[in-house]
């Protein structure tokens, strides 16, 4: 491998309010190299890359990029346009694709002159096809992006960067939405491209893939670069310690015998707007004292399953019962009163009313309760003391119970939701991606509470795209694929991975 330097980040710092996202981070990248940027959630990986791509302006520091001639030149900061011109391409975790355009138009967007009256699509298309052939990445160019699968969308994103002559490609958690097998293919393609001279930085918090596919590793913690090494010299335990600062305490999970059935779904089908939110003939049971993990790649019906159990959508056929009570067509309020606790996937969008106070968000599911209202009027003292009590019990930290909930950090918002859910002694808990985006401490707290609820006799349905999380928590694992749910007996990663991809195991 050549050791020609192609990019260097020099002492980049960025602060958001009082939070230091990056503190004087140095990072070099060489030609043809695959650099893994490793760190737990909130370590500042994405912020660093957003500064590189010009989405954020650093508070201090500079960036040098090699030009076509190999000479290092300073990069204008805060301008995506400049980054694009310098040959930096970024694939965000949330794709930046227009769904109403074809894949080809998405790739061409921004590279054609806006003033020109005619388009030369045939010539440009040939170029895109050439890139597809060289890189091994394929996508249906004429299909609307809205109709593509997640994997295809990701390939369109990468093609977009390559079409703009990216010499440096940044991938932000590229495998988060892929099956293990799809992820492997992606890394094979990356391998092909780096042989062509492309340099890649990929952001990840998954040790396994980092060790398998990168050539060098840099570790970030709390916005500071805490380590850097060649992958060949890396030691898994040492890196894990570097990421979290100490040995990770494994969530200890006792095996206990499941109790009586709490949730029964029989032949539930729910047709959504697309295949991504459809359920087909789902039958499953969750018992008391049991955590059932639903493993699967996102967009395989998890949202429909969660919506049906939240009361947000109703099945077209089949029945759902909770402790023998039919809740097939229950509205959210009826679900709450049937002792179903719901931890929604998108806590900002579905979990809280950000413009209302912390105290109000804590009682929002219990407005019918005489404890908090009388004859239609709010009992403000009861609401306030309830909020004080829950804030203490669940360690919700923020500017106070009268402050708007949107001022809380992600972890504290999740604690608020946990407090609201667990306080009502639910018999069934639906936890949809409950630790996504949380820092280590908050995530551990969520896991502890879920196990505690299980031990206390509740049934838990845990929906997650993170197989390691499911393996760590679930007593029983189901796999969801294309809206169908299958029970599996194995706890073998690769076998579960195959099933997540729809292969019979």
């Amino acid at each position: 491998m050549t050791q020609q330097k192609i990019l260097s980040l020099n002492r980049l710092s960025k602060q958001f309010g009082t939070v230091v996202a990056n503190d004087a981070v140095d990072l070099d990248l060489h030609k043809g190299e695959v650099l893994a940027l490793l760190g737990e959630n909130g370590a500042g990986k994405t912020t660093l890359m957003n500064m590189l791509f010009g989405h954020y302006l650093p508070d201090s520091g500079s960036i040098d990029v090699a030009g076509e001639d190999g000479v290092m030149q300073p990069l204008a900061l805060g301008h995506p346009q400049a980054a694009l011109r310098a040959g930096i391409g970024m694939v965000h975790q949330h794709f930046t694709l227009a769904e109403n355009l074809s894949a080809l138009d998405n790739i061409l967007l921004g590279s054609e002159k806006l003033k020109s009256l005619r388009r030369d699509r045939a010539r440009l298309r040939a170029r895109v096809e050439g890139i597809m052939a060289r890189s091994g990445l394929t996508a249906p160019l004429d299909e609307l992006v809205g109709k593509l699968s997640v994997g295809e969308r990701q390939r369109v994103e990468i093609l977009k960067a390559l079409f703009r002559d990216a010499r440096i490609l940044v991938l932000d958690e590229p495998t988060a939405v892929l099956t293990p097998q799809e992820a492997d293919t992606l890394f094979e393609n990356i391998g092909m491209m780096t042989k062509d001279g492309l340099s890649v930085i990929f952001i990840s918090h998954k040790l396994r893939e980092v060790l398998a596919f990168s050539s060098r590793i840099a570790v970030l913690r709390h916005g500071v670069k805490v380590g850097e090494m060649a992958t060949s010299d890396a030691d898994q335990k040492a890196i894990a310690r570097m990421m979290v600062g100490a040995d990770t305490p494994e969530a200890s999970r006792e095996i206990i015998a499941p109790g009586a059935p709490v949730l029964k779904m029989k032949g539930v089908s729910l047709k959504g707007q697309s295949d991504r939110d459809t359920l087909t003939d789902v039958s499953l049971t969750v018992h008391a004292n049991e955590i059932v993990g639903i493993a699967g790649v996102s967009g395989n019906g998890q949202s429909a399953l969660a919506a049906a159990l939240s009361g947000m959508r109703h099945p077209d056929s089949g029945t759902i019962t909770v402790e023998g009570v039919d809740v097939t067509r229950a509205e959210p309020l009826a679900m709450i009163r049937a002792h179903v606790g719901r931890i929604p996937e998108d806590r900002h969008h579905d979990g809280m009313v950000g413009a209302m106070s912390v105290a109000e968000n804590m009682v929002i599911e219990r407005l019918w309760d005489d404890e908090f209202q009388s004859r239609g009027f709010l009992k403000n003292e009861a609401i306030a003391s309830h909020a004080e009590r829950l804030s203490k019990a669940y360690d919700v930290r923020g500017p106070g119970i009268e402050a708007k909930a949107q001022l809380l950090s992600g972890g504290n918002i999740q604690k608020l939701i946990l407090a609201r859910v667990f306080e009502q002694n639910p018999r069934l808990i639906l936890a949809n991606q409950p630790v996504r985006g949380l820092d280590m401490g908050a995530a551990e707290e969520v896991r502890r509470r879920l196990l505690e609820a299980r031990d206390g006799g509740a049934g838990v349905m845990l929906i997650s795209e993170d197989l390691d999380e499911i393996l760590g928590l679930a007593d029983r694992i189901l796999v969801i694929h294309s809206g169908e749910v299958h029970e599996i007996m194995t706890r073998d990663r690769s076998q579960i991975g195959l099933m997540m991809a729809g292969e019979p195991a």
Binding site: G78, H79, E331, I336, D350, A355, G376, L378, L407
Partner: protein, 358 residues
């Protein structure tokens, strides 16, 4: 390099200061059209001030003018708090007025203690019914209520004209399209002798206080706020979003209907097709200037009413078009919108980092 960052929490000073400042800026901006019209600026402002504060009578005119604006401002405030875009207060006002003359001009010959509540009740119900239509179209069919309420305003106004030439026409009016007068005992009483201020103002103030209290302290208000701020989360938390929207739609319509009742049964005595010079639309400005606070509506309605009364008297004295008032009102809406932005966000400019050659 300019960046927009949200403020952590807008201060109380900001929330109060922005509307006041916006109103002042809009008044100052009125210089431009005044210059355009060739008027002496100082004299013009003096005339406006005299029109408002010149005498007790002129100030009572402001109160009279503010009365329907408080009602329509409240109608907009409650609906907008739930993110229900009721732009139909103008039409609902006419429905309320029409109901008032339908029951108040002789259909029931009742004593005042019975007739007045009857007129008020019918007017409110008619306004509510007027808003029920777009609310149902929204919740049942997903039809955008902005467009339906706007279009209904035109339909209702034409309907009023039809009624004034038909069923509601005063046979004594010698061909003028106007209704019979409301029976004397049905008229809302005068508050101050020899002025036009009437009991409608008391009802409007009461409505503002009740609305403020219900919004802050009732479960209904809690639900309404939750639906307006985040309908998805409200629904997830077990709040019946459509039910909340329907209830606020009816109350918003009823308040707009009361504006019509108070104009007909408090001021004019009979209905004509030019009863409202756009009170319904101006109510939106009143609500926005009040920062969607019911008590604030009273203050901003007084301000807007002063602008109208002041501009009217200035117009009479100096020959400058009284459309100046509409101009000031629309400018204060735009100013308060922009001001609201600066209350919520901070614009920070950061110096380009050294080495940034672009």
């Amino acid at each position: 390099m300019i960046r927009i960052e949200p403020r952590v929490a807008p201060g109380r000073l900001m929330t109060l200061g922005v509307p006041v400042l916006s109103a002042v800026i809009a008044l100052v901006l009125a210089c431009i059209p005044l210059l355009f019209a060739g008027a002496n600026i100082a004299t013009a402002y003096a005339e406006m001030a005299r029109g408002v504060f010149g005498s007790v009578f002129s100030f009572t005119e402001v109160l009279t003018r503010a009365t329907p604006l408080i009602f329509t401002g409240l109608a907009a405030t409650l609906a907008f708090r739930a993110k229900l875009w009721n732009i139909g207060a103008e039409g609902q006002l006419y429905l309320g007025a029409m109901a008032a003359v339908a029951v108040g001009t002789g259909l029931f010959d009742l004593p005042g203690v019975l007739l007045m509540p009857l007129i008020i009740g019918f007017g409110a119900a008619a306004g509510a019914a007027g808003m029920a239509v777009p609310a149902v179209l929204k919740t049942r069919f997903g039809a955008d209520e902005v467009v339906t309420t706007l279009l209904l305003n035109f339909i209702i106004l034409i309907f009023v004209q039809m009624m004034l030439e038909g069923a509601l026409k005063d046979p004594m009016s010698l061909g003028w399209p106007q209704s019979s007068p409301i029976l004397d005992q049905g008229m809302l009483p005068q508050l101050i002798p020899r002025t036009r201020v009437h009991a409608g103002l008391i009802i409007a103030l009461l409505a503002a206080v009740v609305a403020q209290f219900m919004l802050a302290r009732s479960v209904w208000g809690f639900r309404l706020r939750a639906v307006g701020e985040n309908a998805a989360a409200a629904r997830h938390a077990g709040i019946g979003v459509n039910r909340s929207l329907m209830s606020v739609a009816l109350i918003s319509g009823a308040l707009a209907g009361l504006a019509g009742v108070s104009e007909v049964a408090g001021l004019k005595g009979y209905l004509t097709a030019d009863l409202s010079p756009g009170f319904g639309y101006t109510g939106i400005v009143v609500a926005m200037l009040a920062g969607l606070s019911p008590i604030g509506v009273v203050v901003s309605a007084l301000f807007i009413a002063s602008v109208f009364v002041g501009a009217d008297s200035m117009s009479r004295a100096m020959g400058v078009s009284s459309y100046l008032a509409d101009l000031v009102v629309s400018m204060s809406l735009l100013c308060v919108l922009i001001g609201g932005f600066f209350a919520r966000y901070r614009i920070t400019s950061t110096k380009p980092v050294q080495g940034a050659a672009s």
